[in-house]
Amino acid sequence: MNVGLPHFLTISAALFALGLFAVMSRRNAIGILMGVELMLNASNINFVAFSRYVQHGIDGQIMAAFVIVLAAAEAAVALAIVLAMFRNFGTVHADTVQSLKR
């Protein structure tokens, strides 16, 4: 098999789907965060793959670099929130935080 763009895209799609699944179904707030990371990584793979096979340049990679950085920042903030949540509610169960309900 000639490894080409579709393969990478497939992997990234699978990763994205998995990440989505994790976000939707995980009870643990950190688990949800992990799902988000998966999704971000999936999109990163996409960027790099496209820059490698279609664009033949490095723009996608630069994008991927930015995504990584921002993902890190976002992870930091998110985890801070998780910690605050843990402090306030005593648990990281996502269902405890439902003040938006009704």
């Binding site: 579709p6 950190i30 920042a73």
Partner: protein, 177 residues
């Protein structure tokens, strides 16, 4: 041939732990599975010739984010008996949706002519660095600003307010309110 095998291994290294990340009831296991997934992704980057990105992934994602995640996992552990049960109701719609999304994406991938072509991979570090300083200088600076804000924000979020300290903690007899 070996290239294909390497690819398959890398793919498996990526996907399988990812599955474990999603389905594992133990969050610590999930964290460590994520480690492997990220490794796999870094490998894929390397396979594609994106050397800088691969290394950045290793350092930042695994060395930073994952560590952070694991730290938080450790800090927010609840006693064993109080774990909530999974329940199947949420798996079904989530699963359906995920599958649907995957199906959609896969359909897209296979039905579109991307115009892909092979080239030899070249070292990218110099080029990326140059682009950071010239073409993408603005995003570069903005991102650093974002990082700054994120740090401040995270610090504030973490700060212990006087209001949240209603009950005196064990060991600390005098708590200023």
């Amino acid at each position: 041939m070996t290239g294909d095998l390497v690819f398959i291994l890398l793919a498996l290294l990526t996907i399988v732990p990812a599955v474990w990340v999603v389905f594992s009831p133990n969050i610590v296991h999930a964290g460590f599975a994520l480690l492997f997934t990220l490794f796999g992704v870094a490998g894929l980057y390397a396979y594609m010739g994106a050397d800088y990105i691969a290394v950045t992934q290793l350092m930042v994602y695994i060395g930073g984010v994952l560590v952070l995640v694991l730290f938080t996992v450790m800090m927010t552990r609840v006693p064993q008996g109080k774990r909530a049960n999974y329940g199947l109701d949420r798996f079904v719609p989530a699963g359906v949706l995920s599958l649907a999304v995957f199906g959609l994406l896969y359909k897209t991938i296979t039905s579109v002519d991307w115009g892909a072509g092979h080239t030899e991979p070249v070292p990218t570090v110099a080029e990326i660095g140059t682009n950071f300083m010239t073409n993408y200088i603005f995003p570069f600076e903005y991102v650093s600003l974002v990082l700054l804000v994120a740090m401040i924000g995270a610090a504030i979020l973490i700060r212990e307010n006087k209001n949240t300290q209603d009950e005196p903690e064990n060991g600390e007899s005098e708590v200023q309110s």
